[in-house]
Structure formats: structure tokens, C-alpha cells
């Protein structure tokens, strides 16, 4: 239940550590479980119990979850003295999180119910749900919602497919593989806003390189006004985002792929499995957990990623490329923090609903392969930490 809360709140701080918490816990379980994973029966029972606990992932529950795999481990029992020490060690972090994340969050959300306008702070009275009503009745809101859907789905599907392909390709050993990897991962290190500015010029109709290349290739006769037409503008921002986000999928999936033991592939080869079959029967099931978690993370991040659109189109032309978060920025610029906070709360609510739905759906699906899958996460996390 609490898992989804952790993810959205972790993202804005740019702390990759937020969500992968559970991974630490299940490592041993998964690694141990894998060799004997063939017969699924045992694992099944394990996963059946786990999802909720695994999702939350405190150390205590984690150790507990490995129980079915290994002979019952010693459950750590904290005596008063030990407990105090643990609490003392945790206190600074807890305090930090409380002061810098939860307090601003709560303080910010109460603004949503007030008349909080920076242009005039002499009256910040309580206005109930007025800000929310105004948002829902705003004619732009419908466009913003459907754009957000297009933005998330239109970005994540190609990112996923291309990222997966790159990861499969980089998994093979060849000369300068390290160099290629570094080059592919590089975009992830650039600020979204900067990428937006670069692409804004690349997609410029008269002076941009995109039209120039298309013309030289003989594909178009006259320049496409990319950012001036709402439809092409959305395509342009999507292309930019796909280019940017492919990297993350490539990193995550590659890391997961590297943890699949070669023996399994060798066995498959001996058994006469073809490439496609190997992909769908071994590769994908083995990394299903990583895939599902990466998709979840990316949905949340893309949802919360206004930088690109803001730098490229500013939500224009005529508000046609606004997503919820870019719209929130423009409201903030107006100084209307009350309404902006209300939009923020709506975003959190939407992501909460999505996360719960996603976690529930993937839990049922991965009932068989879930245990193996989650086991890959520790490495992926490491990779990500070093790259980003």
C-alpha cells in the first residue's frame, strides 16, 4: 500500500535510491532461488506471500521473505538496547526526510486549499476546493490530460523497444563495447532543459538541421513547421524524449541481462531453441521484474518531466502541447501557488492510482517468474547509480 507513495516522492529529489529499496532485501533470496528455479512450484508459494512485503522492503520483512527459499533464518529480534542504537542511527536520516520532504509536502499541499497568490499575499484565506473546481472547469484541462497520456505512452513504448534492442545488442561482446556503452549512456547525464533547447533549434523550420536533412534526403520539398503546428510539435517533443529516455531503459535492461547466467542460454541452445524463442522464454521471463519496475519508474518520471516540453514549445502553440506538469509551471509563473499546488496534488493522486494499479497487475502476472525477476534489481541499481 505504501510503496507508491515512496516512488513519486523519491523522484523529485532526484534520488534514485528511493524505490529500489526492496532490492537490497531480496537479493539473496533471488540469487539463491535461481539455480533451482526450474521447478516453479516452490517459488510460487514464496511469491504468493511476498509481493506486499517485497514491495515495501524494510530490512526486517526482506529477510523474512527469503524464508521459503532458505531454511528459516534467524529473525532479527531487537532488544531494547539494540533497538535504541538502530533508532539513533536512523534518526538523522528520518529527521532529514521529515524536514526536507514531508514537511514541505504537507505545507505545500495546504496551499492548494487557500487563496495563495504571490502577487498578493495579504489575503491567504481558506477557500476549500475552489482551486480544484477551477482546474476541472478550465477548458485547457481536457487537452492537458489527453496530452499527458500521449506524452507518457508515446514516449515509453518506443523508449522501451529501442532500449531493449540496444541492451540486447550491447550484451554481446565485441571490440570497444565499453566505449559504445558509454556513448549510449551519455545523454542521460545531460539536463532535460538543455536537451530541450538543442532540439528546439534542431526542429526549427528554417534554420534547423532536421528539415535540412529531410530536404537533402529528398523526403520533403518545403520545410515542415515542426514547432508551429500542434500535431508536429507533439511529434517533435516525443522524438526528443524518446532519444533522451532510451538510454535509461538500455542501462537498466543491460544490467539485468548481464545477470542471466550463460549456462541457461547454453542449455537452450543445446535443446535447439531459436533466437526468438530464447528471447521470449528465457530472456524476458528472467528479467520481468526489472522490466516492470523500470516501466513503473519511467511512467512516473516521464509524467513528471516537463523540462523538455517547456524548453521546446513552452506548452504552445496555443496550449496544445501542455502536459499536466508544464501546465503547473505556467500556473506557478502566474504566481498562483494555490492552484499550482492543487494541480500538484492531482498529479500525486493520478500517479498513486497508476502505481497501485501497475503493482497489482504485475504482481499477478509475475506470479511465476516474480522471484527470479526481482533478484536482478540490485545490479541494475548499481549501474544506474554510477551512470546518473
Amino acid at each position: 500500500m505504501k510503496e507508491p507513495v515512496a516512488s513519486p516522492s523519491a523522484r523529485p529529489e532526484g534520488e534514485p535510491g528511493g524505490t529500489p529499496t526492496p532490492t537490497t532485501s531480496t537479493t539473496d533470496a533471488a540469487v539463491e532461488a535461481r539455480p533451482d528455479a526450474g521447478p516453479d512450484a516452490g517459488t510460487d508459494a514464496g511469491t504468493g506471500l511476498r509481493p506486499r512485503a517485497g514491495g515495501r522492503g524494510s530490512t526486517a520483512t526482506a529477510t523474512a521473505t527469503s524464508a521459503p527459499a532458505a531454511p528459516r533464518p534467524r529473525r532479527p529480534v531487537f532488544t531494547g538496547r539494540q533497538g535504541l542504537t538502530v533508532a539513533a542511527f536512523m534518526a538523522p536520516a528520518a529527521l532529514f526526510v521529515a524536514v526536507f520532504i514531508y514537511y514541505p509536502m504537507i505545507a505545500g499541499s495546504q496551499m492548494a486549499f487557500r487563496n495563495w497568490n504571490l502577487n498578493d499575499l495579504t489575503d491567504t484565506s481558506w477557500v476549500g476546493l475552489k482551486n480544484f473546481r477551477e482546474i476541472f472547469t478550465d477548458p485547457v484541462f481536457g487537452t492537458v490530460l489527453s496530452n499527458t497520456g500521449i506524452w507518457v505512452v508515446g514516449s515509453i513504448v518506443p523508449q522501451f523497444v529501442i532500449g531493449f534492442a540496444i541492451a540486447l545488442w550491447l550484451r554481446r561482446r565485441f571490440r570497444f563495447r565499453g566505449l559504445y556503452q558509454a556513448m549510449i549512456f551519455f545523454p542521460w547525464a545531460i539536463s532535460g532543459f538543455l536537451i530541450g533547447i538543442l532540439f528546439r533549434w534542431m526542429f526549427n523550420s528554417e534554420f534547423g538541421v532536421v528539415n535540412d536533412l529531410l530536404e537533402k534526403a529528398g523526403l520533403i520539398n518545403e520545410p515542415i513547421p515542426w514547432l508551429a503546428d500542434p500535431k508536429t510539435a507533439m511529434v517533435a517533443v516525443l522524438i526528443a524524449n524518446i532519444w533522451y529516455g532510451v538510454t535509461f531503459f538500455a542501462i537498466m535492461i543491460l544490467a539485468a541481462l548481464q545477470s542471466i547466467p550463460d549456462e541457461i542460454y547454453e542449455a537452450a541452445e543445446i535443446d535447439g531453441a531459436g533466437k526468438v524463442r530464447t528471447l521470449f522464454r528465457i530472456t524476458i521471463p528472467s528479467i520481468r521484474g526489472t522490466l516492470s519496475l523500470t516501466v513503473l519508474l519511467r511512467v512516473i518520471w516521464i509524467f513528471n518531466f516537463p523540462d523538455l516540453i517547456f524548453a521546446m514549445t513552452g506548452g504552445g502553440p496555443s496550449n496544445e502541447t501542455h502536459i499536466v506538469t508544464t501546465w503547473m509551471i505556467t500556473v506557478t509563473q502566474r504566481g498562483d501557488y494555490g492552484r499550482a499546488s492543487a494541480i500538484g496534488l492531482i498529479v500525486v493522486a493520478m500517479l498513486l492510482v497508476f502505481s497501485v494499479f501497475h503493482l497489482t497487475a504485475t504482481r499477478e502476472k509475475s506470479a511465476t517468474g516474480g522471484k527470479r525477476a526481482t533478484g536482478r534489481k540490485p545490479r541494475t541499481r548499481k549501474t544506474k547509480g554510477t551512470v546518473s
Binding site: L84, P92, N119, L121, N204, E206, A228, G314, G316, T330
Partner: protein, 434 residues
């Protein structure tokens, strides 16, 4: 036992570190040196360098004052300043813009300098316009302008002559004619660098104001002398029709999304023949590699049918935070920047319309691209300077709304008539609610 004591020590050290990190320096030192924290808003690298030189000069003259200049990126600067002001400390001198002075003074974040400046000798050296902007309706001084932004028409003299015209356009109708003649999309030659993106409203309003110049309220550029909005006048529709024809017949189609960078780039790389912009572009164009100094110059702002133009003045200046503990020193810095060499240097290096009367005798402003500004200043009846309601608390909201509306018209989703009706009712309602 030992481990627990160690833990406790570690915690204490950590707490001490955190707390000391949170403490904000008051700015005063034991030897009486005062450090002023100064924040700028319309930051750009050249300008920051000029400002730093001026500050160094100030520190030389006032050895007991140090100035710490903070330069946030322009896009977020005003929001950063807002946050600093809201927290009430850490900021002494700051850049106040005509659009921020209203809300910030309402929130009592700005210090009223009028008492401190009562006997200030500098008042006499400032132009009338500067003095006017340095005082609000109630005579309070929240900032002293450092310069003014005003529009003039940048044009390509070679292309204008090449198309068979003797003189640059003087009116919006002339512009439409000449730009249409020059437009040749096949050769990627366009007439006018249309502003359809961010701040599209500013030029659209300038056209409308030129067409109602005879009836405009000089204290509020959005009002007619009869109290109604300029958007309600029948001339406004004629103005917009000419203006949107300029987009259809004589501008690059993609200029629906053009903001400041694209407009300047379009002119600077030679693709467009006309550009309506602030004087700061003079410096930028001087560095262009595609067009030489001989190929372009400026003409006065375009007029309406009555032969008059309305100059929508925009300005910014230096002010003092209400929460500052060093107001006397901060006042010294503000007056230093508004006087003599410092003021002149700042305006010249940043291509701003100057604040000092002495600029009228300065040869620098009589030549080249600056000449049109002199012409406009010398003919105040034809080139009327009008105060825009930029200090309204809804100004940003208005900009966002009007920009989106203009794009809707450009994309064919709204008619100019609908746009004007909308704008008229928007401002009428806002003024009523005041």
C-alpha cells in the same frame, strides 16, 4: 557502552554541522565591513561582467562595503528572488522590474527609498521619464530605473533598396507592403520576423496602440481616454487585420512559435528583412557573421494611420529589500548605479535607452542604429510614450492568455474579432474587480 557513547558523539557532531550549515550570516563583520547581497534578474554574461566592473569601482570608493553579486539564470531569476524576499533575509539590493514592483511592494517585500533620497543630487540628472518611473502613484520609490527598453524597427537596407523602395517603412501599412515584396519563401527569404511565441502579445498590442494613438490614455496604455479598453475600438480590428496579414503574406510560417531567440536569429542570419525589437539587439547584431554593419540599421517605431506611434515602455532598476539590515549601504549602491559614469557605462554596454539627461549631448547616441531613438525622443507628439499596465498583479496571467490567443488566431482556431472581444472583456472585468 563505548559504542553508544560513540554514537552519541557522532550524533552531536552531525547535529552541530547541520545547525551551523543552516545559520545565515548577518553580513556584518567585526571590523565594521558590511557585505551587501545583490541579486540580478535579467542576467546575461555580458551584463554580469559590466555589473561586476561597476561593483568593483563602488567597493573601491567604499572600502567598508563589500558587494556579493548573485546572478541566477534569467528564466528562474524572478522566482528565486521571490523566494529570497519571502524568507525575509539574505538579500539587500535587487533588480526590480516594472512587472515585479507591483506585486512585490504589495507584499511589503520592497523598501520605500523616498525618504532616504529626499536630498539626493542625482534626481536632477535623470530624464523626466526616469523620474516618473522611479516613483509610483503614491510617490513611493521602490526602484530607480537603470535604463529603458523601447521598440524600433531593425531593417535590411540592402533588401529594401533591392525591392525598389527608397525609404524604410514608416507605418504598419508600409511594412506590410515592403515585407510582402521582399518575401520569397522559395529562396528562404522572408519579410518580417513575426513574433508568435513567447510574448507575442507585446507586438500585437503595439500595433493596436498605434492605431488608437489619438485617443489613448497616456497613464494606462490599455485604456482609451473615454475609459473603455483599446481593444473595444473599431481601429483595433483594422490594426490586427494588417498585423495578421503580415504573418500570412510576409513571415516564415514557423514564426507561430518564434520567440525572442528565433526572431533575432532570423534577422541576424539574413533570412528576414524586418525585425521589431529592443535596442539591446544592436549589440547582438554587431556580432553577426551573416550580415555586415552596412546591411542593416534601425528606423523609428511604426506608426498607425494618424502618423503616430505609441512606444510601450518597459523598464527595470535597482531596489532594496524590506528585510535588509543594511539599508543605508544599499541605498548608497543604488544611487551609485543611477549616477554619472556608472549609469552611462551600464546603458551603453547593454544597449539601453539611457536614464541620464546628459545622453542627449552624447555623440554616441546620434549615430548609426541609435539615431532612430533620438528621432523618437525629439518627436514626443508623434512617438508617444505611454505607460503600460505592467504592474497589474494579473500581468503574467494576461501574457499567458494573450499569447495563447494570438497563436489560436494564427492557427485559424479563433478570429481576430473573437480575440478582441475576449481581451476587451478580460480587462474590463479586471478593472472592475480592482
Amino acid at each position: 557502552m563505548l559504542s553508544r557513547r560513540r554514537t552519541a558523539t557522532a550524533l552531536c557532531v552531525a547535529a552541530a554541522l547541520v545547525l551551523s550549515g543552516c545559520a545565515v550570516g548577518g553580513g556584518g563583520a567585526a571590523d565594521g565591513t558590511v557585505t551587501l547581497h545583490m541579486v540580478e534578474s535579467l542576467t546575461n554574461p555580458t551584463r554580469t561582467a559590466v555589473l561586476k566592473d561597476l561593483i568593483a569601482e563602488f567597493e573601491k570608493q567604499n572600502p567598508k562595503i563589500k558587494v556579493d553579486l548573485i546572478s541566477p539564470p534569467t528564466d528562474q531569476a524572478d522566482q528565486k528572488i521571490q523566494q529570497m524576499l519571502q524568507s525575509g533575509s539574505g538579500i539587500d539590493t535587487l533588480e526590480v522590474r516594472d512587472i515585479t514592483s507591483g506585486p512585490w511592494s504589495t507584499n511589503r517585500w520592497l523598501y520605500d527609498m523616498s525618504k532616504d533620497l529626499k536630498g539626493w543630487a542625482g534626481w536632477n540628472q535623470l530624464t523626466d521619464n526616469t523620474v516618473k518611473y522611479a516613483k509610483d502613484a503614491k510617490g513611493r520609490t521602490y526602484y530607480i530605473p537603470y535604463g529603458f527598453y523601447g521598440l524600433s524597427l531593425f531593417y535590411r537596407s540592402d533588401l529594401v533598396t533591392g525591392a525598389g523602395f527608397k525609404n524604410p517603412p514608416a507605418s504598419w501599412d508600409d511594412l506590410l507592403e515592403q515585407a510582402t515584396a521582399i518575401q520569397n519563401p522559395g529562396k528562404r527569404q522572408y519579410g518580417y520576423a513575426f513574433r508568435g511565441g513567447t510574448n507575442a502579445n507585446s507586438n500585437a498590442v503595439a500595433v493596436i496602440e498605434a492605431y488608437v494613438a489619438d485617443r489613448i490614455d497616456r497613464e494606462n496604455g490599455f485604456k482609451l481616454t473615454d475609459g473603455r479598453t483599446i481593444f473595444s475600438a473599431p481601429e483595433a480590428l483594422t490594426a490586427l487585420k494588417t498585423y495578421f496579414a503580415l504573418f500570412k503574406k510576409a513571415s516564415p510560417p514557423s514564426s507561430v512559435a518564434w520567440g525572442y531567440p528565433e526572431m533575432v536569429e532570423g534577422f541576424s542570419n539574413g533570412s528576414t528583412a524586418f525585425l521589431l525589437q529592443d535596442p539591446e539587439v544592436i549589440a547582438t547584431l554587431g556580432e553577426s557573421k551573416s550580415i555586415s554593419r552596412q546591411q542593416w540599421t534601425t528606423a523609428p517605431l511604426l506608426t498607425g494611420p494618424s502618423g503616430k506611434a505609441v512606444q510601450p515602455v518597459a523598464t527595470a532598476g535597482w531596489g532594496i529589500a524590506a528585510g535588509s539590515k543594511h539599508k543605508a549601504e544599499a541605498t548608497k549602491l543604488v544611487t551609485f548605479l543611477a549616477e554619472g559614469d556608472a549609469a552611462t557605462t551600464f546603458d551603453k554596454k547593454n544597449s539601453l535607452v539611457p536614464i541620464l539627461k546628459s545622453a542627449a549631448d552624447d555623440a554616441y547616441y546620434k549615430t548609426g542604429a541609435w539615431a532612430s531613438y533620438v528621432k523618437m525622443t525629439e518627436n514626443p507628439d508623434a512617438y508617444i510614450t505611454v505607460t503600460q499596465p505592467r504592474d497589474s498583479s494579473w500581468w503574467t496571467e494576461w501574457i499567458q492568455k494573450s499569447d495563447a490567443d494570438i497563436q489560436k488566431v494564427l492557427l485559424g482556431k479563433m478570429t481576430p474579432e473573437q480575440l478582441l472581444t475576449g481581451w476587451d472583456s478580460y480587462w474590463t472585468a479586471k478593472w472592475k474587480s480592482q
